[in-house]
């Protein structure tokens, strides 16, 4: 199992938290921001997938 990928996923989630903080309290995203968030979450999913495969 690759522990690095645990932290890689956590980092992506923390980056998402940063976005939530910057857009609080309404969390209204413009199209560019929406795309950024989607890419971030997609990358997190991929990293989790790799982690799952490595077990």
């Amino acid at each position: 199992m690759k522990v690095d990928q645990v932290f890689e996923t956590l980092e992506l989630i923390e980056k998402f938290r940063d976005i939530l903080r910057q857009k609080a309290p309404l969390h209204k995203f413009n199209p560019e921001e929406k795309e950024e968030v989607k890419q971030l979450l997609q990358k997190a999913k991929e990293t989790l997938g790799k982690l799952e495969e490595s077990i």
Partner: protein, 373 residues
């Protein structure tokens, strides 16, 4: 039970105590990986400030440079730094002079050391300003009443009640004139704006990194000049690497590691201080335009901590079912928090770190509430 705090993600948090300590993603990642007790002690070198992995040794050197001083140590916070200086320099019964806008922990640190406190009065309503020349008057009073100058003078660079920035250099000049060592408490300034202790004629600088460096706590810095290193950082006879005034090692946790991660961001963010001041001034101007709202403290604002006297809201509160709690709940409904519940006559808030979009939203929320009057 999952104990979760979502205040920073779900609300605009205006609590002045907390805005400068908000973390970023990189810092939180470091915090997670160093969360276990004594995590920075994997490669112990006998004392915290000598640890090379993680590079706490380099960090303490960098912090001394960042604060414009010769030598620094990590502490558990500004108050611990203040106590260390007072304890190192004064014997019980001797006199310290402090500004009257000081934090309560300044007074408590002096009490713990058993020293006598003389206060530099502020100018009272509406500015509550600490004027440097009043240090001279207070020194003269100490001389008259005790026959000796004080053993130490402390200045709160920016206070936590009014957000007043004091001219530390002018205080430093008066301290030099009377040969009184000068301790600068930069808890509300270092990490937000540039603070160079020696340029301000300070002999000691303390700060709080969970207040101003965007990291979890508790952690602070105590820095001094060449002249005072041996006295302030004197070592134990039995444990020669341990600083007595610090009780050996201080922040033995994720906070030290987080400070390493945060440091480049902090060096960068102090360059944008003027923008933070602009946000505070913009909000004050708009809030006062609502009528029956007055900014207290020195004008124009030179800091993000804003204290507002708000008769407009206290009058409204009289008619509201929630009385004094009404403003708190009205803000909460709009996703804004950090103002003390039950207070409508005045309140404190901080705009530090908010985006312009958030500052504008904040004003629109207050404006909407005011229109109900």
């Amino acid at each position: 039970m999952n104990l979760i705090r979502t205040r920073e993600e779900c609300y605009l948090n205006l609590n002045p105590l907390q805005t400068g300590g908000r973390t970023n993603a990189a810092v939180r990642l470091t915090a997670t990986s160093f969360i276990d007790g004594y995590s920075v002690c994997d490669y112990c070198k006998g004392v915290l400030h000598l640890i090379e992995k993680p590079p706490i040794c380099q960090l303490t050197k960098d912090l001394a440079d960042f604060l414009g001083m010769d030598e620094a140590r990590l502490t558990n916070g500004a108050r611990e730094g203040k106590f260390a200086v007072i304890h190192a320099l004064l014997s019980p019964g001797e006199v310290i002079v402090v500004d009257s806008n000081r934090h309560y922990s300044t007074y408590v640190a002096a009490e713990r050391a058993g020293v006598r406190v003389y206060e530099v009065r502020n100018t009272d309503y509406p500015e509550y300003e600490i004027r440097p020349e009043v240090y001279r008057e207070t020194f003269e009073q100490v001389l008259k009443e005790t026959g000796k100058p004080p053993k130490l003078a402390l200045l709160t660079h920016v206070d936590g009640e009014y957000g007043n920035l004091v001219n530390a250099y002018e205080v430093g000049k008066i301290c030099q004139e009377y040969q009184v060592p000068f301790l600068l408490n930069s808890a509300y300034t270092a990490g937000r704006m540039e603070v160079k202790g020696k340029e301000l004629l300070a002999d000691f600088v303390v700060t709080s990194c969970h207040k101003g460096f965007g990291i979890p706590g508790t952690i602070g810095v105590l820095a001094t000049t060449e002249k005072w290193i041996d006295r302030l950082f004197r070592k134990s006879i039995k444990y020669p690497k341990k600083d007595i005034e610090l009780l050996g090692c201080t922040a033995r946790s994720e906070a030290s590691a987080c400070l390493i991660t945060a440091f480049p961001y902090v060096k960068e963010r102090v360059k944008h201080w003027e923008e933070e001041v602009k946000k505070a001034r913009w909000l004050v101007e708009r809030m006062e335009s609502l009528g029956e709202i007055e900014q207290l403290g020195v004008r124009p604002k030179e800091h993000d901590l804003i204290r507002l006297k708000t008769p407009l809201f206290s009058k409204m509160a009289e008619k509201e079912r929630k009385k004094g709690y009404f403003i708190y709940y009205e803000l909460e409904k709009r996703g804004i928090t950090g103002i003390k519940p039950g207070q409508t006559n005045w309140f404190k808030l901080s705009t530090y770190g908010l985006t312009w979009e958030q500052v504008e939203y904040l004003y629109s929320a207050f404006s909407e509430i005011a229109r109900k009057a």
